[in-house]
């Protein structure tokens, strides 16, 4: 990914320079450019960019796995892959796409945009934010090294125990799965806590909860879901790890285990996870559609509350993944009803997006096409989802390609379409140049056609009875045509992705001859457009003061005497000039990457040699100590600049080693209240 040279400010010292530290602990690094600038950064924007780059990299990896599956299934009776390899490939395709592509891609947008949309300097704990990213990356790499160490996981992304026990899955693949997801879980949990605190605590003066952009709201709900869902999968993964590595008996049916235990634990995590994947994308299209319809979002409170409702109800539907497992009629009926019910808030969102477009002056730019694509494709996926809520029909559909069709329509047609729209929409803000619109439209249409060719026929195949997870099928069942169509579609998507990567490079090259996009290229509504593009390192020159929803828009447009909306200023005129003199930023740190390197060491050690695990644990513990003792900041600066809300002095060590020891221990209520104090409201939600 391109390295953005940010304007050199007074804080930037020569690259690589470090200060003397008498304690013998690393001084805080100061490099802001070059590779050192990236590995030591605590800047939420750079971390967001790295999340995005890593997600796109793993998207290519997962995409290649998808193409292998489709090549194998293109015609009946093919033997491109053995059944064993096929198991590994479809398992890693699912694990990669969910945990290493969609989740970090969401994290990329949330990291980059939440502080900008709420008018903050950074997230609440900048070093923990870096820790989240590096730990996620360590977990992703750890998982994928299983390919070179005896084979990947082969039990499906849901990893039903006891099928994933040593007896049925003797390679180390499932160990890599259990420990790898545990590591990425740490990353998600730390990131979730960080962003929840950020949204609750770092909002600009006047930005009450109900003045936050819809994207920030949906991200907030996502992070709350993560905070509560991750520990449940952690428990399941611990039990599986103990069973496989230490001979525990949790899933040993011969010892009296209940095979439903794993299914319940997994899906209590797994269903909220579905909303963790989709809600950030819902937030993104809720930003894109109003901008290109030239209308405010229709029914803002309904958008917010339907998101919250999805967040709550997402916890009460998990057993619809288990209708075929013999739960009994009462459980099945109850979960059937709750599953139908959760379609209501989702339907509210879809209607609100359409009502936003209704009567608007719509321009079909590339981001808008992706957003409309999401609304259409997700609706198809949502409708097939409701058919699963009908338990008798679901019993017929379970383990067929109908299910595969459904979840690709919601995750690819929903989440990924939203993220693609987000890339085109925020690219100028992040990198300072616009992605070519014509090429972008080629990218969109190719993807849309390829997507429907790939997954549309799977509905038919599934209803005809073609099973998932089977490496091949016989001639004469009527599966041949639609499988071939599906494979052609998959390769069409691959070509579309190539168009995207070409567009990135080509647009960057052409950008030199074009005028810069300016702070507000789309005439947009939220705060991130009120600062220069690419975003200056310090974000906002001063705290923005917020008086209403879409405050930035209202600074550009006002009503005249006759009640007509007239433009009083352009975005460029009201945007902050990008003066860093009043900002003080958190200093970079090497400790996050150091600490996170310990986790995969522990993982390899648990699998191969406990000495290595001890070394890994020592790295983690040493990292925590070093983290806690790290000097707060540049020594030639006063300990605290004007930016007090994002405590730059290392108080985030508190979370790991010594809670609250950082200097941000400001007694509540000290200091003047913000212009519009949203305290009461926030307490309601936080408490």
């Amino acid at each position: 990914m391109a390295i953005i040279e940010r304007p050199t400010d007074t804080l930037a010292l020569p690259p690589g320079a470090t200060a003397h530290n008498p304690l013998g602990v690393f001084a805080r690094p100061r490099a802001k450019t070059g590779w050192r600038g990236w590995v030591s950064t605590v800047d939420h924007k750079k971390i967001g960019i790295m999340y995005g780059a890593a997600a796109l990299f793993f998207f290519v990896v997962g995409g290649v796995e998808a193409l292998m599956i489709r090549a194998q299934l293109a015609a009946p009776g093919q033997k491109l892959m053995s059944a064993d390899l096929y198991n590994q490939v479809f398992t890693m395709h699912g694990v990669t796409m969910i945990f290493l592509v969609i989740m970090p891609m969401g994290a990329a947008f949330m990291n980059y945009l939440i502080p900008l949309q709420i008018g903050a300097r950074d997230v609440a704990f900048p070093r923990l934010n870096a820790l989240s990213f590096w730990t996620f990356l360590a977990g992703g790499i750890f998982l994928n090294t299983s390919w070179f160490l005896g084979g990947g996981p082969d039990g499906g992304w849901f990893a039903y125990a006891p099928n994933t026990g040593v007896a049925f899955s003797p390679s180390h693949g499932m160990d890599f799965y259990a420990i790898g997801l545990q590591i990425t879980g740490i990353a998600s949990l730390v990131g979730g806590i960080n962003l929840v605190v950020t949204v609750l605590n770092l909002r600009a003066p006047g930005m009450s909860l109900m003045k936050m952009p819809v994207f920030t709201w949906m991200s907030f709900v996502t992070q709350v879901l993560l905070v509560f869902a991750i520990p449940v999968i952690s428990v399941a993964l611990f039990l599986l790890t103990f069973d496989r590595l230490f001979d525990a008996n949790f899933f040993d049916v011969g010892q009296g285990a209940d095979p439903l235990l794993w299914e319940h634990l997994f899906w209590i995590f797994g269903h909220p996870e579905v909303y963790i994947l989709i809600l950030p994308a819902f937030g993104i299209v809720s930003e894109i559609i109003p901008v290109f319809s030239r209308k405010p979002i229709f029914g803002y409170p309904f958008m917010v509350f339907s998101g919250i409702a999805i967040g709550f109800m997402g916890w009460g539907v998990w057993a619809h993944h288990m209708f075929a497992s013999g739960l009994g009629p009462i459980s099945v009926a109850a979960f059937s009803v709750s599953t139908m019910f959760i379609a209501v808030p989702t339907g509210v969102k879809i209607l609100n997006w359409m009502a936003t477009m209704w009567g608007g002056k719509i321009t079909f730019t590339t981001p808008m096409l992706w957003a409309v694509g999401l609304v259409a494709m997700f609706t198809i996926g949502g409708l097939s989802g409701v058919t699963h809520a009908v338990a008798p029909a679901d019993t017929q559909q379970t383990d067929t390609y109908y299910i595969v069709a459904h979840f690709h329509y919601v995750i690819f047609g929903g989440a990924l379409f939203g993220f693609m729209g987000g890339f085109y929409f925020w690219w100028p803000k992040v990198f300072g140049y616009v992605l070519n619109d014509k090429v972008g439209k080629v990218h969109f249409w190719l993807t849309l056609i390829g997507f429907n060719l790939t997954f549309g026929p799977m509905h038919i195949l599934g209803l005809q009875g073609m099973s998932r997870r089977i490496p091949t099928y016989r001639d004469g069942y009527g599966f041949n045509l639609w499988n071939m169509v599906s494979t052609i579609g998959a390769f069409t998507i691959a070509i579309a992705m190539l168009v995207f990567f070409v567009n990135i490079v080509r647009s960057k090259r052409q950008a030199a001859d074009l005028p810069p996009p300016g702070p507000d290229p789309w005439d947009a509504r939220s705060l991130e457009w009120s600062i220069q593009s690419p975003t200056p390192e310090h974000n906002f020159d001063d705290d923005p003061i917020i008086t209403r929803l879409d405050d930035f828009w209202h600074r550009k447009y006002q009503e005249d005497e006759e009640g007509r909306v007239v433009q009083v200023a352009t975005g460029a005129e009201v945007a902050m000039p990008g003066d860093p003199s009043r900002a003080h930023l958190p200093a970079p740190s090497y400790w996050p990457i150091f600490l996170s390197a310990g986790f995969p060491l522990i993982g390899y050690g648990l699998i191969y040699n406990l000495t290595l695990a001890a070394i890994g644990a020592a790295v983690v513990l040493g990292g925590i100590v070093g983290w806690a003792l790290e000097p707060p900041d540049d020594e030639d600066l006063p300990p605290h600049g004007p930016d007090a809300r994002t405590d730059p002095s290392g108080a985030d060590a508190a979370e790991l080693a010594d809670p609250g020891a950082g200097p941000e221990a400001i007694p509540p209520g000290e200091g003047p209240e913000p212009a519009v104090a949203p305290t009461g409201e926030a307490v309601t939600v936080g408490g």
Binding site: A124, F125, L189, G192, I193, V196, V197, N201, L202, P205, M207, V227, F228, I230, P231, V232, V235, A236, L239, F242, D247, A248, N249, F250, Q255, G256, A257, D258, I268, D543, A628, L629, P631, P639, P642, A644, R645, D647, S649, G650, A651, A654, E655, A657, D658, P659, G660, A661, G662, P663, E664, A665, I666, P668, E670, G671, P672, P674, P678, G686
Partner: protein, 203 residues
Amino acid sequence: MADVTHAPAPAAAVHGHGTTTGISNAKLAMWVYLSSDCLLFGGLISTYLLLRHRSVQGLGPADVFDIPFTSVSSFVLQMSSLTMALAVAAITRGDVRRNRVWLLTTAMLGATFIGGQVYEFTTFYREGLGFTTNIFGSAFYTLTGFHGAHVVVGIVMLMSLLMMSFRGNLGPERSDAVEIVGLYWHFVDIVWILIFTIVYLIP
């Protein structure tokens, strides 16, 4: 304890406001983390409840538990919540010396509890209940082991506070730090009330 030489921030005064909710970031983060930890113990306790009577061989709960012994160690842990509260009260008053006394007492009580758990595990193992013996053994050691690990982390945090205090970095202006460790400590104690009731007392 990021840096010993810098005084705590006069931050709020400089910028015009502290945090939106008025709760410090670190304290709010601890609350959010503890809410997440509820689900961790929720998952472990559910697992134990499901599995405890399903063993097909080996010792069961009624064969190993020594309720009077565990009642005493539970009492010790619950008393440490009292001393933790006294530590927070002391530092809020600015009484650094009493704060140290109560922090140390809390850590010692926690360590006593852990000692009791080590003794209990050893006894059970000698009696024939290992981690891999049967499904009850796996579920019991995993649940109580995770709780014990939480107590150990709490003791480490208390000792860190004590170290900070002896180096002169834990005055009343940092009472928030003591309070945050206190939140964690009380949470771990409350979880033990649940575990003691569910694992030991309910047959």
